[in-house]
Amino acid sequence: MRNSEPGSPVSSIGGRLPAAGADAPLTRLFESMRPDLLRFAHWLARDRAIAEDIVQEALLRAWRSRDALKDPSAARPWLLTIVRREHARLYERKRLELVSLDEVVETQASPRFAEPGGELFALRHAIMRLPIEYREPLVLQVLGGFTTEEIARELALSATAVLTRLFRARNKLRVICGLAAAPDLAPRENLP
């Protein structure tokens, strides 16, 4: 892990910095969004430890580029975008150990991991099982609040492709929730 800059919001993992100096408001803003960013990264990376690394790196990048953030009200989507790109970069930089998610989920779906509201439990794991091609736009839309056009721009896809992926993602989850799968009306895409 890289060393962070002194005074940046990532000078310690998970640590909160004293808000002082000219950048203090920005520091507080970034810190306030850390839980959101971590949740977002966790859904992308499917691993909490990796998600923490991603957020750490993303916040460091954001801090270095803080001058580019003209409007603090746009900080959330700006940071989410940086997190998403950092996640993509991480996988480009090194092939992470691929863990059979089915195996992991099966292992952890034992009674000690069960929780009240089994349907939500199943849904969470079903979302985790979605291929990244479906999971990413879904998380961007539902958690990130991105529009179809924004997702398309971020993922370098056409709006139609994004609609298709979102439709299929939800269609897969319908089945998990006991609903009949809707006929696949989306244009063909060579995806799982």
Binding site: R39, W43, L101, Q108, L123, I127, L138, R170, A182
Partner: protein, 225 residues
């Protein structure tokens, strides 16, 4: 808007509310029901996404894939065999080690391309108390070398598989045949009538034939020093 278009839009974004969609839903109960289902599902998805499942196991708890266990077992077996092989082929004593060291000290001995004259062979054998029956055209190198307190014949004999070194060790008397492999050389020391004969070659090779032949061709003289 058609039902297909409406369902694609609803499936992609249950919260979407365009004029065209609303007009279609007003006249299509099936699509309206579909949107209700998807909005209900989306509420669950939203709740689900609020807290990712903690599926990341501690790394130390992760069971390695089965192939990795087999690979680990295979590597242990290979390592054991390698150690065993080195142990079995190691120079069995200091004699073998010194023979190897001596040959290493004369690297040019294996580079000779012309056979040694009969006079040269005689000089090499001088004082060692041995005579050879081997024809001189197969001997490419012959020296009388100081080894363990005695002059011993050091020969390089051309064989069908390349040059091989022979040291005739009148004063070394091992109890049994010893094979060894060290420093890229294979060797064998065999007991002889009045001493022993060491045969070495580069790389791996079966030297027992040559060792056996030398046991036959070396004659031990009675008037040795």
């Amino acid at each position: 808007m058609t039902c297909d278009e409406a369902r694609l839009l609803i499936g992609a974004d249950p919260g979407a509310a365009t004029t065209a969609l609303e007009e279609h839903l007003a006249t299509c109960a099936a699509c309206a029901r579909f949107r209700d289902e998807m909005r209900s599902l989306d509420a669950d998805i939203r709740r689900a996404l609020e807290r990712p499942p903690d599926i990341a196991r501690p790394r130390s708890d992760r069971q390695p894939p089965r192939w990795r266990q087999w690979a680990l077992a295979a590597s242990v077996v290979l390592a054991t065999l390698a150690v065993l092989g080195v142990w079995l082929l190691r120079p069995s004593d200091t004699l073998a080690r010194e023979v190897v060291a001596h040959v290493q000290g004369e690297p040019d001995s294996w580079l000779a391309t012309q056979h040694v004259s009969a006079q040269g062979i005689t000089q090499a054998l001088h004082g060692a108390g041995v005579a050879l029956e081997i024809t001189s055209d197969k001997i490419m190198y012959a020296q009388s070398c100081w080894f363990r307190g005695h002059y011993v014949p050091h020969l390089v004999i051309q064989t069908a598989r390349g040059p091989a070194t022979v040291l005739i060790l009148r004063h070394e008397q091992p109890r049994a045949r010893r094979a060894f492999h060290e420093a890229g050389m294979s060797g064998v020391i065999v007991p002889a009538e009045q001493g022993s004969i060491a045969v070495l070659t580069r790389g791996a090779g079966d030297l027992d034939d040559l060792a056996g032949q030398m046991q036959h061709d070396v004659h031990w003289l009675a008037d040795a020093h």
